[in-house]
């Protein structure tokens, strides 16, 4: 209320308004060439994935019996060749991009929601609650990850969205720890005290004051979680637990390709390149964001 109006009065005319942390960060991020190139590249991959059906004459599940494991050829518009079932690899790679990117983003979103809520509450409320909540996180950490994911998938069935949820349900642990640590460090700050003194209820302090102020490290960790999740999905596909035919993901394609790497190297090379490129991009963006939000060491 009065704080806001006083702030504006102090800032004076619009042209000398101060820059927020996020504006600064955005400027620094855009100045980082690797991060910028990565964002553009990632946008292109995402666009290719969205436009997949328009880019190739072949449907992703059409089987060409006469062209099984055919090398790339331009005459039939098989730019990436065909797979072991005679399906066009180019269009399958792009459909795989849809699944892999969706898995990465959705699972990360799930882990974000759980992890941020959990960590912020544990850190802010403190005491017994904190002890109990973080002990629970420790216990979950001590369970082997694969066991957990596999069980979640058997319990909830092998629906693709449940894969997202299952992975996200495992990935939130680190997020919760990060958020808790951050929350502890800002808990004693004056603006929190001010909110308390003004009679803001705890729930509202957490959602309005704590969470927005811990988002920096969270955003960085998020960009590093997405590639991790994509890798986990690929690992599940390798075990035969990933998405189901005829749908596919990069992981599933790579797992098939790894079997045939001698006789049909294109089956491995193209999806693997897309996967590696995407992971590179997310990592560069994550690094760039970290540097942008924490300019101390530059």
């Amino acid at each position: 209320m009065s704080f806001a109006s006083r702030g504006e009065a102090l800032a004076g005319p619009a042209e000398i308004r101060g820059r927020s942390l996020w504006q600064d960060a955005r400027r620094r991020l855009l100045a980082n060439r690797a991060a910028l190139a990565s964002m553009i590249l990632l946008a292109i991959v995402a666009l290719l994935a969205l436009l997949a059906p328009l880019l190739s004459p072949h449907p992703y599940d059409a089987v060409y019996w006469d062209r099984i494991q055919a090398p790339p050829d331009l005459a039939n518009a098989h730019w990436f060749g065909t797979d072991g079932n005679g399906r066009d690899l180019f269009v399958r790679t792009l459909y795989g991009a849809r699944v892999s990117l969706a898995v990465g983003i959705l699972a990360t979103a799930v882990s974000l929601v759980i992890g941020v809520t959990w960590g912020a509450i544990a850190g802010f409320v403190g005491g017994r609650t904190d002890d109990l909540m973080m002990r629970f996180v420790d216990v979950m950490y001590s369970l082997p990850f694969m066991f957990f994911v596999i069980l979640l998938m058997v319990v909830f069935g092998r629906h693709i969205f449940l894969i997202f949820v299952a992975i996200g349900a495992v990935e939130w642990l680190t997020m919760a720890r990060i958020v808790r640590g951050q929350t502890l460090s800002i808990k004693g700050k004056e603006f929190i005290e001010a909110a308390r003194a003004a009679g803001v209820p705890t729930r509202k302090i957490i959602t309005r004051h704590v969470i927005p102020n811990v988002m920096g490290p969270v955003v960085v960790y998020m960009t590093l979680t997405i590639p991790q999740v994509i890798l986990i999905e690929s690992f599940l596909s390798f075990l035969g637990l990933g998405v189901q035919e005829p749908l596919t993901s990069w992981g599933a394609l790579i797992a098939e390709g790894a079997d045939q790497m001698e006789s049909a190297p294109w089956m491995l090379v193209f999806p693997a390149t897309f996967l590696a490129l995407t992971l590179f991009c997310f990592n560069f963006i994550g690094d760039g964001l970290r540097d942008a939000l924490d300019p101390r060491d530059r």
Partner: protein, 307 residues
């Protein structure tokens, strides 16, 4: 110090108990049982089989029986590997996993910290970029691609090393799985080391060391590295536990008789006792290694005191 260790070990007992309980009931919530087959068993036989394995008792009773067995060191019989107890399976498999995983983590620590330090000292120069790009590639290539690729190059084309097989753990057979397992870890450790090394090199105590006129080598190795290793050490705890309990992928591809595949196979086959055995092994390792991490912290950081 020893009082601290004793207290930590004592405190880990309830944690372990919770882990066992959670794992036990999660396993049972999963639909299907260890003896479900395409063709259903005749009811009388099924009844006998379930009775034989104590699966017909109420769940709570089963839980209690299992828990008291585990306390006496009896992990029960495996449901899938009919003639073995879980204890036997783990005892024969774990040394193999430990050997491969242990070597891999040693390799990863040595190479990773070395590369990370070099990159940090040459920050934003060509060496740094090359090391970091390589590390990123190491992370970006899944090990189920890396492993067959290595076999193809060194086993098939160059025929320097055996393509697969255990050979009783002979060094020749170990090279490829250890490298395949270590590569992503090298990459993570190098990245972690670089990041914290850059931060440490800006710290006041490093400036003091330089101001005293110490040689750069001493400044880096004796002063900076110690502080820079803290995040690496905390990463290494869980990473080591994961590596020495084996990797399904590496064990499948190279035919290593370890315990990594039990986590996955056991969960898929509802081999309750086998999974529980594997989970307990992993949890115990995690708890012990986290304790080691905290102790090493005390060695590296004089501000940390264990009382």
């Amino acid at each position: 110090m020893s009082a601290y260790i004793a207290r930590r070990l004592l405190a880990s007992i309830p944690t372990l108990l919770v882990i066992v309980t959670v794992a036990f009931f999660m396993m049972r919530i999963a639909p299907g049982g260890p003896f479900d087959q395409e063709r259903a068993l005749p009811p009388e036989i099924e009844k006998n089989v379930l009775a034989e394995y104590n699966l017909d008792a109420p769940l709570v009773v089963q839980y209690w029986d299992y828990l008291s067995g585990v306390l006496l060191g009896d992990f029960g019989p495996s449901f899938k590997y009919r003639d073995f107890t879980v204890g036997q399976l783990l005892a024969t498999g774990f040394p193999a996993s430990l050997k491969v995983g242990g070597l891999a983590i040693l390799l990863a620590v040595g190479v990773g910290i070395g590369l990370g330090t070099i990159a940090a000292l040459r920050q934003n120069r060509a060496v740094d970029h090359v090391v970091m790009a390589t590390a990123m590639t190491g992370i970006a290539i899944p090990n189920f691609v890396m492993a067959p690729l290595l076999t193809l190059i060194f086993g098939v084309y160059l025929s320097w090393l055996p393509v697969a097989g255990w050979g009783g753990g002979a060094p020749r057979n170990l090279v490829l799985p250890v490298i395949a397992l270590a590569l992503p870890q090298i990459a993570y450790i190098a990245r972690l080391t670089r990041g914290s090394m850059i931060e440490t090199l800006h710290a006041n105590f490093v400036r003091t060391a330089r101001a005293k006129g110490l040689r750069e080598r001493i400044v880096v190795l004796r002063h900076a590295l110690k502080g820079a290793l803290l995040p690496v050490v905390s990463y290494l705890g869980p990473a080591t536990a994961q590596l020495v309990t084996g990797s399904v992928v590496i064990e499948t591809i190279f035919g290593i008789p370890g315990i990594g595949r039990y986590f996955v196979q056991g969960a898929l086959n509802r081999d309750y006792t086998l999974v529980m055995g594997a989970v307990i092994t992993y949890a115990v390792l995690i708890i012990l290694l986290n304790l080691v991490v905290d102790l090493v912290y005390g060695l590296l950081d004089p501000k940390v005191k264990h009382r």
